[in-house]
């Protein structure tokens, strides 16, 4: 099925010049810093020397009402954290364009978040968050920072870019979302409905 993936790349909407920033996957340097035992600045191409790459089919959800399942390739966030050994409660993710979002590490691990570099076997395109992005599969994807530049471990929650323009509640809601991959209106999976009932991140994202 031919699919048209909606794109709302915040930094791009605000600054069309952003599209000129095409980052070579191999040369991109990721910074892991803040309250960590092992701070690192590492080229993306060298990450497999430290962490086993993973791939698998997973669905993510956009707060605007759609979802997409495809084969993602990248790294488990839990493996990254094992490497840098965090000493704080929250993870602040920052993009090359300055988009910021902070989420508790506990919440990010609950949903087995990934750092994604590939989509359906190909390196991420610009609009999908080239060259690496955070993917949160059990929260709305405005928490999943595109074009990731750094992950900083901090001890306090800070309002992120998207939260500052309004969106603050990333809990996936019990409502049909248009599955871009199938064209169907799909309800979120049962475990996401249960998370909604528990409102587990209520209070975290204020």
């Amino acid at each position: 099925m031919r699919r048209k993936i909606p794109t709302f790349f915040w930094e791009y909407v605000k600054n069309k010049e952003m599209e000129k920033i095409i980052v070579n996957h191999d040369d991109h340097v990721l910074s892991f810093n803040g309250l960590v035992e092992n701070p690192m600045q590492i080229k993306l191409k060298n990450l497999p020397n430290h962490i086993k790459p993973v791939k698998g089919r997973r669905r993510f959800y956009c707060v605007n009402g759609w979802s997409l399942e495809c084969e993602w390739g990248g790294y488990r966030l839990s493996d990254v954290l094992d490497l840098i050994k965090p000493k704080g409660e929250f993870l602040k993710a920052t993009s090359l364009g300055g988009y910021v979002d902070t989420t508790s590490i506990k919440t990010l691990l609950r949903g087995d978040s990934w750092l994604v570099t590939h989509m359906d076997g190909k390196p991420l395109e610009f609009k999908r968050g080239q060259p690496v992005r955070l993917m949160t599969f059990d929260l709305y994807q405005f928490k999943g920072v595109k074009a990731l530049s750094s992950l900083e471990v901090v001890n306090t929650y800070e309002k992120g870019t998207w939260a500052s323009v309004g969106y603050t509640d990333a809990t996936i809601q019990p409502y049909p979302h248009k599955a871009i991959d199938t064209g169907e209106d799909l309800m979120p999976e049962d475990h996401l409905i249960e998370l909604f009932k528990e409102s587990l991140i209520h209070g975290e994202s204020k």
Binding site: G65, G166, P174, Y175, H202, K206
Partner: protein, 247 residues
């Protein structure tokens, strides 16, 4: 304050849909009431601020007043942002608590979810306020293909064809509207047993109508969304209901 209202006569409200967690569809008897013709504008809301609405505890629920004091709230979240503070744009960045206080100040209240659907769907239970045809951008401010076009709410008088059978404008798109019900997933099922107002406490309240960031599906009158009472988003506004004076 003189807010334009329309009369919603007593009658049968057709609420819900066959979509999971929106149904089953059912018919509910609703007493007559009045509803604001448009959402509350920034200009109208400014009078609430100037009249000391944020300093008058009698207008607020106890939890709302505590919230206002704790966070020292004195105006909506986007009050100073030119993208959202046009005089004829709907006020946005208001929590449920602020919406509730404003409604009380003008002598009204927030509508129940059932009343909201009655005002939007009229007598025939239509899918959208104007009928059953899905909208294009000439009809409503929303996000076709899920990508925002206007990046903000438009003035409340735009899209004049976006009108319900009773004469309420822009009940689909632009900004979500707070309702008085607590949000629970199973509320639509409880309506069969006669529940007209969801009063089981919950951190969340019901939002209706969709907004400038949402796709078509959330513009349907039966669609439900929710936020906690404290959230102040730039996609949420206020429409006040009034009890009809009985003579």
């Amino acid at each position: 304050m003189n807010l334009s209202r329309v009369k919603i006569p007593a009658g049968i409200a057709i609420v819900g849909s066959d979509i999971p967690y929106e149904g089953p569809p059912c018919q509910v008897e609703v007493a007559g009431f009045e509803m604001m013709e448009h959402c509350v504008t920034n200009k109208e809301y400014s009078q609430f601020i100037q009249a000391g609405g944020y300093e008058s505890p009698d207008l607020w629920s106890s939890s709302g007043w505590k919230w206002r004091q704790t966070f020292n709230i004195s105006h909506p979240a986007f009050w100073l942002d030119p993208q959202y503070n046009g005089s004829a744009q709907p006020v946005t960045g208001v929590s449920f608590h602020e919406a509730n206080a404003f409604a009380k100040w003008v002598g009204g209240r927030l509508p129940t979810e059932i009343e909201w659907e009655r005002a939007a769907r009229g007598e025939d239970g239509r899918e959208f306020p104007w009928g059953n045809e899905p909208p294009d951008m000439s009809m409503a401010n929303f996000s076709p293909d899920f990508v925002p076009v206007d990046l903000s709410a438009v003035e409340v008088t735009q899209h004049p064809r976006n009108v319900s059978p009773f004469g309420c404008f822009q009940m689909a798109g632009n900004v979500f509207e707070w309702c008085s019900d607590y949000f629970h997933i199973d509320t639509p099922q409880r309506r069969i047993a006669g529940v007209k107002l969801e009063d089981r406490a919950s951190p969340r309240r019901v939002l209706k109508g969709g907004a400038w960031v949402t796709g078509i599906s959330r513009l349907r009158c039966a669609a439900r969304w929710s936020y906690s009472s404290e959230f102040r988003d730039n996609i949420v506004g206020i429409r006040v209901a009034f009890d009809t004076l009985r003579t």
